[in-house]
């Protein structure tokens, strides 16, 4: 009770401070006078009486301070006072304040922007019920390099769903692109086929209308569509009448029955139309089709991920025995949904998070260093304050307040910087990194920035304030001369730390940079210069007969080739570096392969002129001609170099009969040509054996057109669009890209990480240079007198330079030693991002050291030179 009352008195004591201050002065004065009077009465002289009274009652100011501390809630008042004091101090030294705030803003800005990206990809919850229990279900073939997370077969999916006991539910889906027609509006949109249980499994509710049911999810069921909120808003203006609207999808009538909620997305944000999968229960998918779909499942309550994996492995084992022709060597791999969405991106992000952490540490070390210099020069002031009654804790608090004020200023500026950086980063980032990220700076990010600044403020402020308040008596004693020592060791240590951290960043940046240079140096096997590509998806309903599709594309290419500025044109089913399909291949005259040991190859359907347009060299034989691109022509194939080398080793490839299992019947056909390899998929892996079909024998309704322009590739896009419209006015073209951008995209992850790391290490390097300069410049000022004496006694300027530079050399050498060790320990984390260099690449490490030493030498030059030029008389007079 008494305590409570005292606390209340303190809070109210915060107000009416001026009156209380007067009261206290008056009270102390009367106290003192009474003592003097008593002493006079005791027979002392006037001066003796005053002196005795003073001695008797001790330091008035210390007592006042103590009373003040007690008379109000300490933290409000002192903090406000300290902040005012700190602001005043910082205004007086704007150079120092700017340097410190800028250092921090750079560190905090980089950290916050990377954190924001990581947050949106790795942390932010996915927009449906209990997403942690949703897993992706893949097939896996241990024998195939690229089949760790392979798409699935509907046949296997049906058996998994029927036999498993660990999932609440399991759903299959597949994505495509289709032409949607609503009134006059014709566009290609992204659509997804899904079994009826996918949306309910995710726990999402319709925003308007309803989802399709299992009764509608049958072959030739009603064409009912669920659309995204975005499509509802942009195409239908958010009208309620959208439910029941009739539209045309792939040239067939369809009815919209539902709208998804605004923020919902599953795996990709761009799906606008959801349709029922329509699996045919009577069909044996293992006989008629391969692996081409995706599956997701929700774990039962209480079922662990590993238990589910074990059960699915067992089921896959049974299926493998039951269907050896189709399932030999295939098993099931589960993957947490979030992992499946970020996969390699995660490594890049973690590396970048680590890098910004290092950068922030360098920035903090730099500010600590600046503070230390500032406090050392204020040592006398601190000593005086302590001498007139300020406690050490009190002084430390005041100094800490200053560093926190600095940190918060840096944090605010850093947050602003981060917003700009995020915009830039999203523009530059590889597609797979930001595809699903909507990076925003919300209150959580702001909170993170605030906490980060506060923490760094306290962290980097603590050591300097400890040093500043140590041995205050020395501070007074030496005040007449320049204060020596006091934190020089710590400052050197901090600069060495900056050097070490910068070296680690620099090494990482160097390794990634070399990987990117290496990747760019690889010949991709095509000449993407001047090539533009776009997709044409013919609606199957309007182009049911293959001959109509063959005619459409043949006519289109003929007319595009006539267009001005076009050098050549062709089409392909899947663009290299973009997409792929693979199947097993048989070679005539060989015994049938044992199950699981089939030869597999990449399959592409091309039209005549493809190799010339893409710049793929024809090594043997001939290209397809217009005569080959007809339904009644004989089956003929073109294979790549790797196919000839690996599957036909030593045999003459031309004239060999092969077949590739892509369709219901796969007649043998003759190899008529061998072309150069294209570095498929990712540039840094081996090319895979490839078989090229001519379009007429493996007819796709969606083809990627490739057009080689004589000049600017963008200039031929419009003429090409006109050509397509002239054949079918309702036919749009989609996804216009240059081949160069597609090739670049394949190593954009490395390039992006390298770019950011290079930027971070440049900033770190600058900060370290400032640190080195600061320490040396300060030590020269500090030792002016000593240097003056030395010069007066005949020391040569060179000797003085060496003395000062030697100090820098020791610091840098120490930092480098630690940095090299750190680099060796940490660069292993970069492994999956590197190409053509090992994580422990000594050349890169040495180069990084060299860069650092050069920067350090420049930073050390100015102060050393100044020292050697000191006029001895001036130096001595400075005292």
């Amino acid at each position: 009770m008494r305590k409570l009352r005292a606390a209340g008195a303190r809070v109210t004591g915060f107000f009416g401070k001026a009156g209380r201050e007067r009261d206290m002065a008056a009270e102390f004065e009367s106290h003192f006078q009474m003592a003097v009077e008593d002493n006079l009465r005791a027979g002392m002289s006037e001066s003796e009486a005053r002196r005795a009274a003073m001695l008797q009652f001790g330091g008035v100011d210390a007592a006042k301070e103590e009373v003040r501390d007690m008379s109000t809630t300490l933290w409000i008042e002192t903090t406000l006072r300290d902040i005012r004091y700190a602001l005043r101090g910082l205004r007086r030294s704007p150079g120092f304040a700017a340097a410190a705030i800028l250092s921090l803003a750079l560190g905090v800005g980089a950290s916050v922007s990377i954190f924001a990206v990581a947050d949106s990809l790795l942390v932010r919850p996915l927009p449906f019920r209990d997403p942690g229990r949703v897993v992706m279900v893949w097939e896996r073939n241990s024998r195939l390099r690229d089949a760790r997370f392979n798409v699935i077969s509907p046949g296997n999916f049906r058996d998994w769903r029927a036999q498993n006991d660990v999932f609440e539910n399991m759903a299959a889906f597949g994505d495509g692109r289709s032409v949607l027609i609503v009134g006059d509006r014709v566009e290609e949109i992204a659509n997804r086929f899904a079994t009826a249980d996918l949306l309910p499994m995710l726990g999402v509710e319709p925003y308007r209308g309803r989802f399709f049911t299992a009764q509608e999810d049958v072959p030739n069921g009603p064409n009912v569509l669920v659309i995204s909120y975005r499509l509802w808003q942009s195409w239908f203006g958010g009208e309620e009448s959208v439910i029941g609207r009739k539209v045309q999808l792939r040239s067939q009538p369809a009815t919209i029955i539902g709208v998804l909620p605004p923020n919902f997305y599953f795996r990709s944000r761009n799906i606008d139309v959801w349709e029922a999968m329509g699996y045919d229960p009577a069909r044996d998918y293992r006989k008629t089709s391969g692996r081409y779909q995706l599956a997701a499942a929700r774990l039962k309550r209480g079922a662990s991920f590993s238990a589910a994996q074990a059960e699915m492995t067992a089921i896959a084992k049974r299926l493998e025995e039951q269907y050896p022709a189709f399932d030999k060597n295939w098993t099931v791999a589960l993957e947490p949904l979030r992992d499946s969405m970020v996969r390699e991106v995660k490594t890049s992000l973690l590396v970048l998070l680590g890098a910004v952490g290092l950068l922030l540490a360098v920035a903090c070390a730099n500010v600590a260093n600046l503070l230390l210099a500032r406090y050392t020069s204020r040592k006398r002031e601190v000593a005086v304050r302590v001498a007139i009654g300020a406690g050490r804790g009190r002084v430390m608090r005041q100094l800490l307040t200053e560093s926190v004020v600095l940190a918060l200023a840096g944090g605010v500026l850093g947050l602003g910087l981060a917003r700009l950086e995020i915009v830039g980063m999203v523009a530059l980032a590889p597609r797979d990194m930001v595809r699903n990220a909507v990076v925003t700076v919300d209150w959580r990010i702001a909170g993170f920035a605030f906490a980060l600044s506060l923490l760094t403020g306290i962290l980097f402020g603590l050591a300097p304030s400890l040093v500043a308040t140590r041995n205050v008596v020395d501070g007074l004693r030496e005040a007449a001369r320049s204060a020596v020592g006091g934190g020089r060791g710590l400052r050197s240590f901090l600069v060495a730390g900056e050097v070490a951290l910068s070296l680690i960043l620099l090494t990482g940046a160097g390794l990634l940079f070399r990987s990117v240079v290496g990747l760019q140096g690889i010949a991709p096997g095509i000449d993407p210069g001047g090539v533009v590509t776009f997709r044409v998806s013919l609606p199957r309903a309007a182009y049911r007969e293959p001959v109509r599709r063959i005619q459409f594309f043949a006519t289109a290419l003929d007319r595009i080739r006539q267009a001005p500025g076009v050098r050549s044109a062709s089409a392909v089913s899947y663009l290299p570096f973009d997409d792929t399909s693979a199947t097993s291949v048989t070679i005539a005259g060989r015994p049938p392969a044992k199950p699981g040991e089939e030869l597999t190859g990449t399959i592409r359907t091309v039209m005549p002129g493809y190799f010339r347009t893409m710049g793929i060299p024809l090594l043997q034989g001939r290209d397809f001609t217009a005569a080959d691109d007809a339904l009644d022509s004989r089956y003929r194939f073109i294979v790549n170099e790797t196919f000839a080398r690996r599957f036909l080793a030593g045999e003459e490839p031309l004239g060999k009969q092969i077949s590739a299992e892509m369709d219901d019947k796969n007649p043998l056909g003759e190899i008529i040509g061998v072309v150069g390899d294209v570095k498929e998929g990712s540039v840094d892996s081996e090319p895979s054996p490839t078989v090229y079909y001519v379009h007429a024998h493996l007819v796709y309704s969606t083809m990627m057109l490739v057009v080689k322009a004589a000049g600017d590739p963008q200039a031929v896009v419009d003429p090409a669009r006109q050509v397509i419209r002239s054949i079918d006015p309702a036919q749009p073209i989609a996804q216009v890209r240059t081949m160069e951008s597609i090739v670049r995209e394949t190593f954009s992850r490395q390039r992006f990480s390298a770019m950011l790391l290079v930027a971070f290490s440049i900033v770190a390097l600058l900060l370290a240079a400032v640190g080195i300069y600061g320490v040396l410049a300060y030590s020269v000022t500090e030792r002016t007198r000593e240097i003056g004496v030395r010069i007066a006694l005949g020391a040569q300027p060179g000797r003085i330079t060496r003395m000062i530079a030697g100090g820098a050399a020791r610091i840098v050498a120490g930092g480098l030693a630690v940095g090299v060790a750190g680099s060796l320990a940490l660069t292993g984390l970069l492994k999956s991002l590197l190409f053509g260099v090992t994580p422990r690449d000594w050349t890169t490490l040495m180069a990084a050291c060299l860069v650092l030493v050069s920067v350090a030498a420049v930073a050390a030059y100015v102060p050393s030179r100044r020292a050697s030029r000191l006029a001895p008389l001036d130096a001595l007079r400075m005292e």
Binding site: A9, D23, H31, K64, M70
Partner: protein
């Protein structure tokens, strides 16, 4: 002036309260002198010890203060005991006696306890 013992917080509060109880309203200097005299000049109070204690007692409501005029016409702040202060004094005095009694028993030579 000989050796002066440091006055520690708990006992100082008790001394201040007892002094005010015995002498009636008194200013800070008077309290200090009175405590020094009562202790036979074995205790010495300086500002830094006395005034924070007075403020604490006032904040806790045990004493209150008013400005007045001293015997030799000097303006001074007079402290006096409140009702809560009287209760506190009685309670703390009792506790103190009990404590000293217990400690005294421990310090008595062996055998004299009976």
């Amino acid at each position: 002036m000989g050796q002066k013992a440091d006055v520690w917080q708990g006992t100082l509060a008790l001394m201040v309260l007892k002094t005010l109880d015995a002498m009636g309203p008194l200013h800070g200097y008077g309290i200090a002198r009175r405590i020094e005299q009562t202790s036979g000049d074995r205790l010495l109070l300086n500002y830094g010890t006395l005034y924070p204690m007075l403020l604490k007692l006032e904040q806790e409501g045990s004493i209150k203060s008013d400005w007045g005029v001293s015997s030799n016409n000097r303006k001074a702040k007079y402290y006096s005991l409140t009702r809560a202060g009287r209760k506190q004094l009685a309670q703390e005095a009792r506790q103190w006696e009990e404590t000293t009694d217990i400690i005294a028993r421990f310090l008595k030579p062996e055998g004299e306890t009976s």
